[in-house]
Subunit: 203 residues, 2 copies
Amino acid sequence: MDQPLSNEMETRIAEAATRVFVRKGKAGTSMQDVADEAMINRTLLNYYFRSKDKLFDLVFQRVFVRFLPALANVINASVPVEEKFRMVIDQYHEILEESPYTAIFVLHEVSTEPHRMVQAIGQSGIRPATLLEEINREMDKGRLKKSDPRQLLVNLLSLIIFPFAARTVIEGILFSNDTEAFKRFIDDRKSYLKTYFVESVKA
Amino acid sequence: MDQPLSNEMETRIAEAATRVFVRKGKAGTSMQDVADEAMINRTLLNYYFRSKDKLFDLVFQRVFVRFLPALANVINASVPVEEKFRMVIDQYHEILEESPYTAIFVLHEVSTEPHRMVQAIGQSGIRPATLLEEINREMDKGRLKKSDPRQLLVNLLSLIIFPFAARTVIEGILFSNDTEAFKRFIDDRKSYLKTYFVESVKA
DNA sequence: GTCTATATGGCGATAGAC
DNA sequence: GTCTATCGCCATATAGAC
């Protein structure tokens, strides 16, 4: 009874694989690395997942999908648009503070294998158009400064995500590799963005 | 005389290697890939560069260093600080529009091998502290809104670089994989940022 | 389900002919 | 300087014993 059931083992492998793939990338990870992280024999990986590609597909889907509810929940919420911006900031910070490498992982893997985008978006049901239309209406009503709503959306995501993607560079240049100082900076940034960004887009 | 001289061949290899490494990453690139791109026999790579590591070190240094003059020139210019912001936007756009994958390449490689940061910074002589101090003085004089100068600097770099790093995602979600539409978006963004960002930081 | 043993192929690197 | 041939290693994947 202390032998893991099939589902338990699959979960255990998936979680270990996620940690390793996210940290070292698909090409930089061997099946041995994953087996070590899951503390199982390497051959067992092929028993549960027939190939590295299949395993990676699962991991990528798991990671990518986590980024979507943060947007989807917000889009459908019944709150003013400035409050939606604050919610996006909070939710992405929650995800990225917990697993800081996911941002660069997703961007890198999607960049080298763009076909993943198509299927990932298809399975997600995400509708950014809805948020863009709401931003547009608020601009028409004169509550937000007039501009291209897509520029505003890209601004928001840039300001949130880039510091995590560029963590090593920023930590090295601005904080002399002091990880704790960087974490304080990110923590400050969460509230900083909620006032700075919202202020900068209001009409 | 139509045989390439040693220096010409080294340059040719370095340029080919840069294209392949930037596009597929270090771990995702084989020496055969580089040889094919340079249209030479694979063994010649080992003649000119003893190992993949040595070749990659050169490529990374070449790519990383390109990002620094954009900042260094600006820091020492004798112009108002708002004009410096505009110069940074122009210069980074020039680099990134020419080779859009360099952003994600640098961020990914630095993330998986952080030690590269230390040596790259050391050899660059970059002094962001100088720019931060100038921003601080402008805040004291009441010409810029008061805040943490590092947050402002990170905002600027985020707004410029992130759209390139996330190109595949943005192109897929916002532009249905229409590359030309994305390019127009980026072109608009350059002038958009110069007014939007400068406006948002002025006191 | 889990292991040992092994097949098969690609990789980085070098020796040696020219 | 440039090639062919080859070494040794590690990767993915599978066969087969238990």
